[in-house]
Symmetry: C2
Subunit: 388 residues, 2 copies
């Protein structure tokens, strides 16, 4: 009908930080030169800084799943006993991947929308002292539920196992004290809270994990942690790096440092809280009310309505791209993201659009009511920030 | 405090159309080659198409003021009698410029916020048949008032004078039937409804204006309409063109063609209407209620408040750049723009932000009330569009 700006508002790829995007134009540098080494060293140093760890951080040209695989194939051996916490599509991915590599997998399953409890992990480890690894999602993007990583970390730290965390949407949306909580491997991706396009994945490796790497025998070649560390120490990557994306990464990390990682997390948590309050004000139910993540809020459509109708209307009416449910949850939830480069103006617009979409589909809506809820959350946060 | 995306929401430069911006990267072409001629011819042809005229359209590497000057210095002679309609800062610019070139200027002045009436123009022309030109703004950006160009065109068409229109913010925000209404010169700029950065200005030239150029004797060199037309007919510009901006212009014009110039105008008018309604709902007064433009809506701050406080809060609280009043109107109005690449999502956010800023400054505000007004305007327009 009229102008509809396309706005990418999904939980990954996420909205891009414009100066980072612009930096990609500078990619006419060769990756075996000092010019490149400066860029690469800075990205790794800044990643360590924002992740708050002195552990090795190793980047790979890959989707996030690539770095997940690097953890499996570098740290375990065929037949190793592992425990997978599965609370959604990405938990299922850990289960599939560890099985594909021939590990002996016990799956701790939570219903979609729920989270696996730390006590379940403790029980599984207590039952079998030979378990070598626990796999979990910090934030299960498919359902909008978060796991209690702090508790799990402290449980696993006291055992011979390592804790491997898919924090692809957890980083930048929830505190993750890597060294303090005993998080052995933390996997992240460029296209999430780091505000740049997809293409880079990375993982942190604790001393305990490095020790396991010494005896691990699963085959790997491209995803080789030891080789990658050796090259990273020289300021290079083992294979051809994605230069343009590294330039973007550098600019985005400079922005995140200036903002502060704690503020980035607070930003996501604030927007998530405002979104949950707006959903309640509009009479909508959350899909993961018990342990909601701040990366993405999964909302159920009104009874009898397919969530795809809402997702489609966001695009056709307003040009806004939001996420439907994945797999078996398609049609049953829609997901509003908060991770990375999102702000209150985005949320005012998204909730304003949602109100219209509900009304246009015959749902009784008082215009402005959801937006007003978001405004009140903003005001409370602004008042608190002024006091601080 | 948290993430604040910088959003440029002023009445020029206006928000940029991303694919146009991206096209600027292709500017490694030379301007005396066939590659360039294809680009230049297409831009001029598309400009004619969206302006709805077969008259010559001549682009210049200049600010809009440069094309205004081209009209003065190419079409008039020292001592020529002209009439200037002045209803704000840009009307004053016509008066200064025509005086600077030694024309004999009569200024028809309207109070800031008002518009000069077509009857005033008719009376001035009736009083002196030797008047050679009438100068006016289609939309006076400094006050948010619009002139009745259709009536003025028809009045001037019946005389020996030409009508010269600064339509820099008028194009794309109000209908301008160049040939049907007798509009001799229409001046536009790239950084307005055309959605690209500043750097190009252009003007249309009617046969009646070309006839005046034959006898005009004012000096000019860079802004030479005849020379520019001769070169444009060959697909080139007289002097070095801004290649990157022309590439962007081409992409933006393709988008405007696909949208339809009438829809672009309708979009601005709809957003302007919704903004006026929201201002009223929030108890704020318009600065130009009698003849409001759709390019920009000028709003008075609550009594006793400097509009600069509002403009500053938009930036510090939300990263949104909106316009204060210009010159003597600074502090007295703030301006919300609608020209070019603006959509409802922008307006939901801007009004949501405005409500917060008013409340934070002690103005009694019911959160969501202004946004709800905008939502209702959207719903009415959507219902009408469905019927059509």
């Amino acid at each position: 009908m009229h102008i509809r700006k396309q706005r990418l508002l999904t939980p990954g790829p996420t909205p891009l930080y414009p100066p980072a995007l612009q930096a990609m134009m500078g990619s006419d540098i060769h990756h075996r030169t000092e010019d490149f080494r400066v860029v690469y060293r800075n990205v790794i140093a800044d990643l360590k800084l924002v992740l708050g760890t002195s552990y090795d951080v190793l980047p790979f040209v890959a989707s996030g799943t690539g770095a997940m695989e690097a953890a499996v194939s570098n740290l375990f051996s065929r037949g190793d006993k592992v425990v997978v916490c599965s609370a959604g599509k990405f938990g299922e991915r850990w289960a599939e991947m560890t099985a594909a590599f021939g590990l002996d997998v016990t799956v701790l399953k939570a219903e979609y929308g729920d989270a696996v409890k730390p006590e379940q992990v403790a029980a599984a480890l207590a039952a079998d002292a030979s378990v070598k690894g626990v796999f979990v999602q910090a934030s299960e993007t498919s359902t909008g539920a978060a796991h209690d990583i702090e508790k799990m970390g402290k449980i696993v730290a006291g055992t011979g196992a390592i804790l491997v965390i898919d924090a692809i949407t957890g980083l930048g949306t929830m505190p993750l004290d890597i060294e303090g909580w005993g998080l052995d491997v933390v996997v992240g991706g460029s296209q999430k809270a780091f505000m740049i396009p997809p293409g880079y994945a990375f993982l942190t490796v604790s001393p305990k994990a490095w020790k396991m790497a010494e005896t691990a025998t699963l085959p790997h070649y491209y995803f080789d942690l030891k080789k990658e560390k050796k090259n990273a120490d020289k300021g290079e990557s083992s294979y051809t790096p994605n230069t343009s994306l590294l330039l973007a990464f550098g600019v985005a990390l400079t922005y995140i440092k200036s903002l502060g990682m704690d503020k980035l997390i607070d930003n996501a948590q604030l927007l998530a809280r405002a979104t949950r309050a707006a959903a309640a004000a509009l009479g909508l139910e959350l899909f993961a009310p018990g342990s909601p993540a701040s990366s993405v809020t999964a909302i159920k459509p009104p009874a009898g309505m397919d969530s795809g109708v809402i997702v489609k209307a966001f695009k056709t009416r307003f040009g806004s791209i939001i996420a439907n449910g994945q797999g078996s949850m398609k049609g049953k939830i829609f997901r509003i993201a908060h991770l990375g480069y999102f702000d209150f103006a985005d949320l005012f617009a998204v909730i304003g659009e949602l109100e219209i979409i509900l009304a246009a589909n015959g749902v009784p809506v008082e215009f402005g009511k959801g937006v007003a809820t978001v405004q009140k959350v903003y005001m409370e946060a602004a008042a608190q920030a002024e006091k601080a």
